[in-house]
Symmetry: C2
Subunit: 466 residues, 2 copies
Amino acid sequence: MIGTLLAGPVRVVNLGLASFARDLAAHGTAVAQVDWSPPAGGKHELLLALAVLEKDAVEKANQAALQKILAAEPMLADVRRAGELIPELDGARLMLHAGPPIEWGRMCGPLKGAVCGAIVFEGWAPDLAAAEKLAARGGVQFAPNHHFGAVGPMTGITTRSMPLLVVENRAFGNRAMCALNEGLGKVMRFGGNDAEVLARLAWLRDDFGPLLGAALRPAPVPLNPLIARGLAMGDEMHQRNVACSSLLMRILAPAMARVGSPSLPRALEFMGGNDQFFLNIAMAMGKSILDPARGIAASTIVTAMSRNGTDFGIRVAGMGDAWFTAPVEMPQGLYFPGYSAADANPDIGDSAILEAVGLGAFAMAAAPAVAGFVGAGGFAEALGYTRAMSEIAAGRNPKWGIPALEFAGTSAGIDVRRVVETGIAPAINTGIAHRLPGVGQVGAGIARAPLACFEQALTALAQHAR
Amino acid sequence: MIGTLLAGPVRVVNLGLASFARDLAAHGTAVAQVDWSPPAGGKHELLLALAVLEKDAVEKANQAALQKILAAEPMLADVRRAGELIPELDGARLMLHAGPPIEWGRMCGPLKGAVCGAIVFEGWAPDLAAAEKLAARGGVQFAPNHHFGAVGPMTGITTRSMPLLVVENRAFGNRAMCALNEGLGKVMRFGGNDAEVLARLAWLRDDFGPLLGAALRPAPVPLNPLIARGLAMGDEMHQRNVACSSLLMRILAPAMARVGSPSLPRALEFMGGNDQFFLNIAMAMGKSILDPARGIAASTIVTAMSRNGTDFGIRVAGMGDAWFTAPVEMPQGLYFPGYSAADANPDIGDSAILEAVGLGAFAMAAAPAVAGFVGAGGFAEALGYTRAMSEIAAGRNPKWGIPALEFAGTSAGIDVRRVVETGIAPAINTGIAHRLPGVGQVGAGIARAPLACFEQALTALAQHAR
């Protein structure tokens, strides 16, 4: 750059808005354009809020939140019926979904598709058409998974009879739950709802779930070391869980064989055939790690990021259980043969809890193969994502090292202040669902969390802090 | 470097032998030392041999060998009793071992320990003392695994009743075999021979081997894609097989459950508890890939590297089944607590077949964790090993990409000419055995193949080519 400045006939150096440079160039003036943007996009209100929040009390609160995140000891401990774990599910026609709260009328296509499938699965309506009518006339209550200690990928539907994975955070005694991963193809999390989808859910409920629960209860699986090994083996635990799924199989297969079941061969085949089996475990782990930081007054650290396919919502430690929402964005990515961006539903799922805990796109440098899968390039680009995301992180997790960064720890905690100040929106590695009910996955890509969520949260935190 | 030359009071620039520079410096002369060594160490006879072998016929032969290596389709197909696969083992008191041929008197400690253990295991003597006497008086015949289509890690003992893994190369119809990996701790491959070692071997023979064979025969496992996935997950398949062992478990556990056996829980636990389970499969695969290149006239590509703990031996495509041997070197590495280099046995095992096929130290860039485990540094050093080894390789294998090199293929084929010309000795990632019989593994490190083996092979190839 300096070389160019010395050598060329430069008369004007323009910082920031490129349009000035273009105007000058159009009038024949030599211009050197330097990329620059003002902090917080130069917005006066946000700069004031940032100034209010640059104080010791916030730093201390964030350190307290960070220490809780880093002290977590998540264990995969059990699989049980959802109604047993969340009694409210047995008390009413209650259905949990991904993302912040949303009513039926504003739900996107795949979420409506999954809702209707789950209504039929629970026997609340005889078929999909009747299910849609039931939902439309208010015959089912809806609430976010996050309101009941749970998470779910994509549509994230949780109903009473589904088996849920239980991750216990032994350091703080809290737990988080997530439904079992259904595999690829037509599945409810991508809006699938036909007979094949419901038959698989019934098998998970009647055979696989109880077998896995019985295998886990005598010997819970510590997850910190599993994640550390997975990062050294190319997983980022969002779009790639090959290593953790495989390592877990080595632990669970003997335990399941000791329990014994006529379903054992099918159960091992189901688990062994699914590279993403671990995803749902990683998600429950993410929530179990971040939940203890909820409600730490003055902390600007993000405790959840989540999408329902219509709205993107975040929660911040210092603001308890409040949601800060904005319209969800479209992922940029690669599509399966026969599909294109025109088929895509906007970003959806509770799985952004993984980025909130420093995995997924934040740990892309550990998983260069994912960069290719989501259309983001190769090894160099994967390093770039991880470096960029570290600029908005509150700290590093020394337990989870990335080999290509000489085992430097993953990011830990997203600081709302850094997001607003830098304008770097958290990147999220995501699957892409078809926008219509009943179709399923059509691709994978990278979505961005809307800056508006973080700007709202920052403003609210500053009001609290004044 | 140029900067230093311009800035300093340099009067003499010395290339090569540092002693000249030291002498001059001692007399007060300013000297700039430039590292350089002449091709083939400047040895006249080797330079002549290299000149003889720099011709089209050799290039063509090497391309033919390389095409065979790259066309391989190795499948893990079976596990059977050694005597069934190698009838000679049932016909006499024959015992196969790692490395080139060696008689009892010249065997190292761990090899003698394993031989005695195997004699007891086969019931040829009642105890270790009697076994030693039997071996010393010539009561057992010894031959290399390589002479019977087999390989074995470390001591590499193969006897009639042991179960052998069978890898078939479907592209050429050949097969290669290897005993099952016994796990870590006291094991025969590191010279262990006590009751615990023999009891485990008996269980492998009576329970695990037959179960695994029955699971494999209906559904052989293609190994090319497994290696490709493993390289993307941090394995180099010599000192690190975590990914491939785990991925294989996902394939084999359901198949073993379908066969059914009262041993199933223990079998899954044994397999699931061993990060190196895949090592022996990778070795048989390596031999199955390289064997079709044996006997291609004029080719200077290495078809085997192997050590018996006393001698290092190589075989070269253009020289058929001849061994070129030299005294084996000492690995440089890290020792387990309580052990040091004084306890170490020199380099041993058939496992250097992995480096010959482009894995192990040649693929270290895929496995930065191994660089730490063998005491060779971190990610940067791992990249350095892979880059250095590519200088002596005949080509690249596009099926096996390394993520950190933007998925460039692993090395394929070691060219004896390049080794002699550059003086770059192949590096080998290796376990280190105690030098005494019956102790076991004491560390892990990197050994170098002796240049003398390659110089002998080069001279022989040149004599043939004249």
